[in-house]
Every structure is written in structure tokens, then in C-alpha cells.
């Protein structure tokens, strides 16, 4: 049984110009111990799918799916309360802006402790010990000292590490990372990606990487879903995707990478759109 299985997910938003289809019948499956990358440009609906799964979309969104199972539990029928039990414990998520994702009024230790308090039976001293342990796991130097630091006293990379610590605090079975390194510098990005992949391998959880960066995909993923304008263009394991892309859109994306440039001009997606008809 796959860890997460979604069939024919559709999401539409109400806007001033009528309903906007953000996702139009896309399937997702993730197995335990697997790194799935969802790659696409803005407007491809890559984040929407996972936000819909987490129940984090605003009320203006209409979500339908033929199937939305997590470990055999139908997420569609869960009440808000039951959903909260699953989400945050078994599924957790990290976001693009690490500094904005942390509450500036509280120390990182306190925020980490809150997560532990809600989802585990740990108490008092144990929570603090576990928090320090988690901060050690995500590679924060001097965790016992940094636990009482406020988010603004830490760098972006460290904040993202704290976010990861919060996300893995309850040993989730599935971690969703929504553009986790987009706001970070290249050298920090490398460290965070390495950390995520290492944590994933150690714990055997499923990891979904949502990204627009083909480099990030190449460095982390086992399997890749390429999306464009709310539809799935291609699904393949990472090597065959880069070696032998099937969809014209994927080919377009790969050839638009500056490092793959052959001539004077970069081919653009629209060059391919006419030929490929997507």
C-alpha cells in the first residue's frame, strides 16, 4: 500500500473572473522511504496539491478527488479534528520562508516544545531534552545555547533547520517540503538539501520536494512529477527524466537551463509549445 495515494485531484478557486482551475485531475502516489519531487513553474499547481492534502487551502477553494488516502485512511471524510491528529503528526510540512514561518515573539525552543506538547506525551524537562536532541539532529551548532534564541537572532539557514526540527519532531511518516531552499543562498541550500535527504534516509519517511529548480530535483529526488498549468506532464524516475525526457514540456524545461545551452540563444518553452502542442 502506498503511503499517500491521491487520484484525480481537482482544485478550483473562486476569483473575480470566475472559477480558476489550479489543478485538473492529477494523481499522486508516494511510498514510504521515497523522495518524490513535484517540479513546475509558477501557476503549475505544484504547491496547491499538497496544501489541499493538508487542508490548508482557503475557503474559496473547491477540492474534489476520487481518492485521497493516507495509509489507508480516507482524508476526504475526516472531520477537522481527526484531520489535525493526522496532520502535524504523521504528515508535516516545511515552507519557503523560514523566518516568516517562525513566530518572532517566542524562542525557537518554546515553539519546538509546543509541537512536542501537542503531539507527544512528553512533559517538562523531557520536552526540553528532546528539543535539544532535535536541534542537534538538524545540525544547529551549540543546540543547548541556541534553544533560547529568538528567530531573528538566527540566520535564514538556521531558521530553516529549526523548521525542519519542528517538522520531524513527531517522527512523521511523510514530510512535505515546499520550496525549502528557494529563499536561501546556494551554499546554505546545499546543506539543507543534504540534511533533508539524510534525515529521510535515516528515518525511512516519505519526502515530497516541491520545487521549481531542476538542480534541486537532480540532487534529491528518486521519482519526479512534472506539472504545467495544473496538469501532469510527465512522471518518471529521476534518471530517465533527465536522460530521456518523454514530454515536450520537460524537454523544453531542461534545454532552457543555461548550463545546457548549446548555441547563442537559449531555447524557451514557447519554442517547444508550438511543436509539442501543450
Amino acid at each position: 500500500m502506498p503511503l499517500l495515494e491521491i487520484r484525480s485531484l481537482r482544485v478550483a478557486f473562486d476569483t473575480a473572473k470566475g472559477p480558476f482551475k489550479a489543478l485538473d485531475g492529477v494523481d499522486y502516489t508516494v511510498d514510504a522511504g521515497e523522495v518524490l519531487a513535484i517540479v513546475g513553474e509558477s501557476g503549475s499547481g505544484k504547491s496547491v496539491a499538497m496544501l489541499a492534502t493538508m487542508g490548508l487551502l482557503p475557503d474559496s477553494a473547491t477540492i474534489t478527488a476520487d481518492k485521497m488516502d493516507f495509509e489507508g485512511i480516507d482524508l476526504r471524510t475526516l472531520s477537522a479534528k481527526e484531520r489535525r491528529k493526522v496532520i502535524g503528526k504523521d504528515i508535516s510540512m516545511i515552507f519557503q520562508e523560514p523566518i516568516a514561518s517562525l513566530n518572532p515573539c517566542f524562542t525557537v525552543g518554546f515553539q519546538l516544545g509546543e509541537t512536542l506538547k501537542v503531539h507527544t506525551d512528553l512533559k517538562g524537562r523531557q520536552i526540553r531534552d528532546r528539543s535539544i536532541e532535535l536541534l542537534t539532529d538538524v545540525g544547529i551548532p551549540d543546540p543547548a545555547g541556541r534553544i533560547d534564541a529568538f528567530p531573528h537572532q538566527m540566520s535564514g539557514g538556521q531558521c530553516q533547520r529549526v523548521m525542519i526540527a519542528m517538522a520531524i519532531a513527531c517522527a512523521p511518516k511523510l514530510l512535505i517540503a515546499d520550496e525549502p531552499t528557494t529563499a536561501l543562498d546556494v551554499t546554505i541550500q546545499k546543506q539543507i538539501l543534504d540534511l533533508l535527504v539524510q534525515l529521510q534516509q535515516d528515518s525511512g519517511m516519505g519526502l515530497i520536494m516541491i520545487t521549481h529548480d531542476m538542480g534541486v530535483v537532480a540532487e534529491t529526488a528518486d521519482r519526479v512529477i512534472v506539472q504545467y498549468k495544473g496538469r501532469k506532464m510527465e512522471e518518471a524516475d529521476v534518471l530517465s527524466l533527465f536522460e530521456n525526457p518523454q514530454s515536450p514540456y520537460t524537454r523544453a524545461l531542461l534545454s532552457a537551463l543555461p548550463e545546457n545551452a548549446t548555441g547563442d540563444r537559449l531555447p524557451t518553452v514557447s519554442d517547444f509549445a508550438e511543436a509539442g502542442g501543450f
Binding site: E41, S42, T187, L193, G215, V216, L253, P258, R265, T268
Partner: protein
């Protein structure tokens, strides 16, 4: 066009005062420490570095947004020191800037036509019909349609907005264009279009670019010369081939190592390592 230097920067410093609070002493932060370089006419210098390395401060000084603390900037034979001389129309016509975020760099309440005409309105005595014609011409040049003239920025995609920002920058026919991460907020396919557009414009108008970026693959594609900055200092400066093929400084090497590789060989290597 050897030795035809259009931008000459010597020993440039920029210091910020950090005002002290009740419990803190006032201190100083030097964002740019003694930077010197030359840019030849019609070429592209890429400035590479991570956040906080001073590359944006450098851009702000080159475009006369901020004054330098000390050092010389000379653009097309014109010495720039705005804290002493102020900014003249002539100086303004030499250099323009394109910002990173196309969502923030256009006034949300200003129609595109007015965005483009503003520099002309403020710096020339051109009649309005002529300004409009020029704006329309420029729209076409950057790959937009005349009917975009009367629209608001929020009706455009990020790539289109960046085209508008580029059109605005070249309205005054500048010699030097400072591009502050012009493609890092854009999607990959749009990034390619904008890079192509920039290449076309450079050829057509003989523009000189100072291209600020953190993305090495873009830099490799577009730059003639590369300058790597680290904590306000230049740690590496040379032609593109020199820097990419034979980096000298440790930081440059770290930067190269950290850049994700999207080629099949690297993926194979990674998967093999994982399986082991």
C-alpha cells in the same frame, strides 16, 4: 574594442552607521571594502556572491541611489560622486538599473505607458505624442504589444513585468545597465526569454551590463568577466573561463561545489552512492 573602458571603479568603500540603542553602542558596518574593477564597453561583468556580500550595495552606488563613502566611480568618462556634486541629467542618462523583483519595481497604480514615459517626462522636454511613440516602440522592442500601453502592472506575468522594467531602463538610451538579479525571481522558461532579450538588446544598442547574480549557471552563460564577492571584498576577478575553469579562492570553490548539478552523470553518481 580593447581597452575601451566604460566603467572604472577604484578602491570603493561603503560604510553604514548602525545607530546605537539604549543598551547598544553605535557601530559601523562596511558593506563594500575597497572594490576596484573595469568594465569594457559592450561587455558583461557578472558580480557573484551570496546575500550580505555587498553586491547590491555596489549596484546602488553604481546607479547613484546611494553615495560611496570613499573611492572613485567613473562612468563613460564622467566622475560620479553624488554626495559632493549631486546628480545631473547627464549622469542619469549614463546608467540605469533593473531590479530583481518585478512585482515590487513597478508602481501598482501607474499604467505601463506612464511607467515608460516617466524618465522622459522628467529628464527631457519631449512633447507627449513623441514620448508615447517612443514608449510604444520600446514596448515592441522588449517583445510586448502596443495594447499593453494602457494596462496596469498587476495584469502582467512576472516575465512580462521584467520586460517592462527593462524597457523603462533603456528608455533613456543609457550606456550602462546594472542588472540586479534580473532573472532570479522568474520561472526557468521565462528566465531563458529574458536572458535572450538582454543578449539581443546588448547587441543592438551596444549596452554594457553589470550583471549581479547568485546563480552560477546563469553567470556562466552570460558573462564575459566574473567578479566574486565575499563579505564586501572581491575574492576572485577574471575572465569567465579563468574563474570557472580554475578558481583560486576557497570561497569560489565552495560556491561551485554547492551549486546543484543537473547533468545525468551527477545524478547517476548520486543514485549509486545512495544504493551503496
Amino acid at each position: 574594442m580593447e581597452d575601451d573602458v566604460i566603467l572604472k571603479v577604484r578602491d570603493l568603500y561603503r560604510t553604514y552607521d548602525i545607530s546605537g540603542g539604549l543598551l547598544r553602542k553605535a557601530s559601523q558596518l562596511t558593506a563594500v571594502k575597497g572594490v576596484s574593477f573595469d568594465v569594457e564597453r559592450g561587455s558583461t561583468l557578472a558580480v557573484v556572491g551570496e546575500s550580505g556580500c555587498g553586491k547590491s550595495t555596489l549596484a546602488r552606488m553604481l546607479t547613484m541611489i546611494d553615495a560611496q563613502s570613499s573611492g572613485e566611480i567613473e562612468i563613460d568618462g564622467l566622475s560620479i560622486d553624488i554626495s559632493k556634486t549631486g546628480i545631473s541629467r547627464e549622469m542619469r542618462q549614463k546608467v540605469q538599473i533593473v531590479f530583481q523583483n518585478p512585482y515590487g519595481s513597478l508602481n501598482p497604480r501607474q499604467k505601463i505607458g506612464h511607467v515608460l514615459e516617466e524618465p522622459l517626462l522628467l529628464n527631457t522636454d519631449m512633447p507627449s505624442a513623441e514620448r508615447r511613440d517612443l514608449a510604444l516602440e520600446m514596448l515592441q522592442k522588449v517583445g510586448l504589444q502596443p495594447e499593453h500601453y494602457g494596462r496596469y502592472p498587476h495584469m502582467f506575468s512576472g516575465g512580462q513585468r521584467q520586460r517592462i522594467a527593462i524597457a523603462r531602463a533603456i528608455m533613456m538610451q543609457p550606456k550602462l545597465l546594472v542588472l540586479d538579479e534580473p532573472v532570479s525571481a522568474l520561472d526557468l522558461s521565462v528566465q531563458a526569454q529574458i536572458l535572450n532579450l538582454l543578449a539581443d538588446l546588448q547587441e543592438e544598442m551596444g549596452l554594457t551590463y553589470v550583471f549581479i547574480s547568485h546563480d552560477l549557471s546563469v553567470v556562466r552563460y552570460i558573462a564575459d568577466k566574473v567578479m566574486v564577492m565575499y563579505f564586501g571584498e572581491v575574492v576572485e576577478y577574471g575572465t569567465q573561463d579563468e574563474v570557472f575553469d580554475n578558481p583560486q579562492h576557497d570561497y569560489t570553490k565552495t560556491l561551485f561545489a554547492a551549486t546543484p548539478k543537473a547533468d545525468v552523470e551527477s545524478i547517476r553518481k548520486r543514485l549509486a552512492a545512495k544504493a551503496a
